[in-house]
């Protein structure tokens, strides 16, 4: 994780921070969702506890911890307790592998009577060189906590919810994998950092001997993969079990699906996992199709140059530039999180056979067609 104590500490702190930020984003998202839903349905939502109802979050967290710890008699204890803890893992493992900002070069500096550096830090938990494969592998672990919860609860509703959930997740993983293949074709790499850097600058096409530059548009993946982007978004909804794909917890049929027997903090941990998935899916969407941490029209070098007009220290400039890009990334991710919330309160739920039909018979062929089309066009315009 690093060559000396400073580097190891920073890298470990980065991982812990990313995880804790993910966990603490969840209450804010829940608040946003409840308020947003209320306004969509012409209500007010939680607005009594504190300003705008914001301290409702703290009240909820305290309530969750102080609830009674309940285990049904027929539950398999190890699985019943293990599932919510395990539910945190896939999202946090995947989130740590995503590039959240540009690389920060730290030149040697003096502190505590010793020279430190030079260092190269990236604003991401860890850099997996096979970025996409690692993220896919980590996030597909999400099937296990659902199955563990379903089987461990000792309840029919939980079991059926878990089965539905897992078969839905694996079905949409196919369409998702094929949609991502289009992205890999365009960028020619597995590495997420390289993908983001490739989206720098204005949009430029080159076909045969002509080349065309549209300077008012950024060079984002969405312009090369419009169908793929839509398919990926739809599959991402299904992967994170959100409406209109929330069949695993369809309360009209299955009470609450795989977490029927869960309550209090254990239920909350499942929630964190689900919202973590939403965050990962939005972040992947941004990285693949919307330029990652890049600010449209401005390259990272320009930001650094602009900042160095104000600040003398080269290290401070690098760190600040990194934070600005992190901010741009967060704004983009929040736009997608809002889309997740808005869709949830706009669309009705599918029926189960419709869901499987959409996944296997509609999205899979479309994703395959998109892939073939991309490959043929790439070969043809060369």
């Amino acid at each position: 994780m690093g060559s000396d104590i400073f580097e190891v500490t920073v890298n470990a702190l980065k991982l812990v921070t990313i995880f804790l930020v993910m966990v603490s984003l969840v209450p804010s998202l829940v608040w946003l969702e409840r308020r947003g839903a209320a306004f969509i349905q012409d209500r007010l939502g939680p607005n009594r506890v504190g300003p705008l109802g914001l301290t409702q979050l703290a009240a909820d967290a305290v309530k969750f911890i102080f609830k009674e710890e309940f285990v049904p008699a027929k539950a398999i204890k190890f699985m019943f307790y293990g599932a919510p803890v395990f539910a945190l893992l896939p999202a946090s493992l995947a989130l740590c592998a995503l590039p959240l900002g540009p690389i920060i070069n730290i030149i040697p500096f003096e502190a505590f009577g010793q020279t430190w550096g030079p260092y190269i830090f990236s604003i991401q938990g860890y850099e997996a060189s096979l970025g996409i494969l690692f993220v896919l592998a980590a996030s597909s672990l999400a099937v296990y906590p659902i199955l563990m919860a379903g089987w461990g609860s000792g309840n029919k509703y939980s079991l059926f919810g878990a089965l539905r959930g897992s078969s839905q997740i694996i079905s949409y993983e196919l369409a998702m994998g094929l949609a991502i293949l289009g992205v890999i074709l365009i960028f020619g790499t597995f590495n997420l950092n390289e993908m983001v850097t490739a989206q720098n600058g204005p949009l430029s096409f080159s076909a045969f001997d002509y080349s065309m530059t549209l300077s008012f548009l950024p060079n984002w993946g969405i312009f090369y993969q419009p169908i793929g982007a839509f398919l990926f978004l739809a599959a991402a909804f299904a992967e994170s079990n959100r409406l209109p794909f929330d069949l695993p917890e369809g309360e009209s049929e299955l009470v609450a699906g795989f977490h029927t027997e869960y309550g209090g903090l254990k239920m909350n941990l499942f929630f964190i996992g689900e919202y973590g998935h939403m965050i990962v899916a939005s972040a992947l969407m941004v990285i693949f199709y919307f330029g990652g941490y890049l600010i449209p029209g401005v390259s990272p070098e320009q930001v650094t140059q602009f900042l160095s007009g104000f600040i003398d220290s080269q290290n401070m400039t690098a760190v600040l530039s990194g934070l600005i890009h992190l901010g741009a990334f967060s704004i983009k991710v929040f736009i997608f999180l809002w889309i997740f919330i808005h869709v949830r309160w706009s669309l009705p739920r599918f029926r189960y056979d419709q869901l499987m039909e959409l996944g296997w018979k509609t999205m899979l062929p479309w994703a395959l067609g998109n892939l073939i089309l991309t490959a043929v066009i790439m070969a043809a315009i060369h």
Partner: protein, 125 residues
């Protein structure tokens, strides 16, 4: 860095997350009061006595979906290395060769999908 996956960092965050969840659960089990009740400990069943065993019969469609998923997912995974190197193939002038080679594989894939739909393996009643 280096290597495919930074192993120490992954192990570190795995242990951290697990401990975080486990400690929270432990704390919650110590703080909240527990009222034991025989009826309350029963499995949830819409207010009536439990009717059925847990290991009840499950539609075979779920198994079929899982099997089909494994077949198709492996086929998709085989396309990943091709997709990553396709740009280099085009740049070196071998794009059509690469596309044709993959075309045969995709033909098998599409035939499989067509057969699967035609044999009604994906129908849910």
């Amino acid at each position: 860095m280096g290597g495919c996956v930074p192993l120490y960092a992954v192990i570190f965050i795995t242990i951290f997350v697990t401990l975080f969840g486990a400690l929270l659960l432990f704390a919650a089990s110590k703080v909240g009061k527990v009222y034991k009740d025989k009826v309350k400990d029963e499995t949830y069943e819409c207010g009536i006595a439990v009717q059925d065993k847990v290991d009840t019969k499950i539609s075979i469609k779920f198994y079929l979906t899982a099997i089909l998923f494994i077949i198709f997912d492996i086929e998709i995974i085989f396309m990943y290395p091709w997709a990553a190197t396709y740009k280099e193939f085009i740049a070196s002038g071998n794009g059509l060769y690469s596309l044709g080679a993959m075309g045969i594989f995709m033909g098998v894939f599409i035939f499989g999908l067509w057969w699967e739909i035609k044999s009604k393996a994906l129908e849910w009643e």
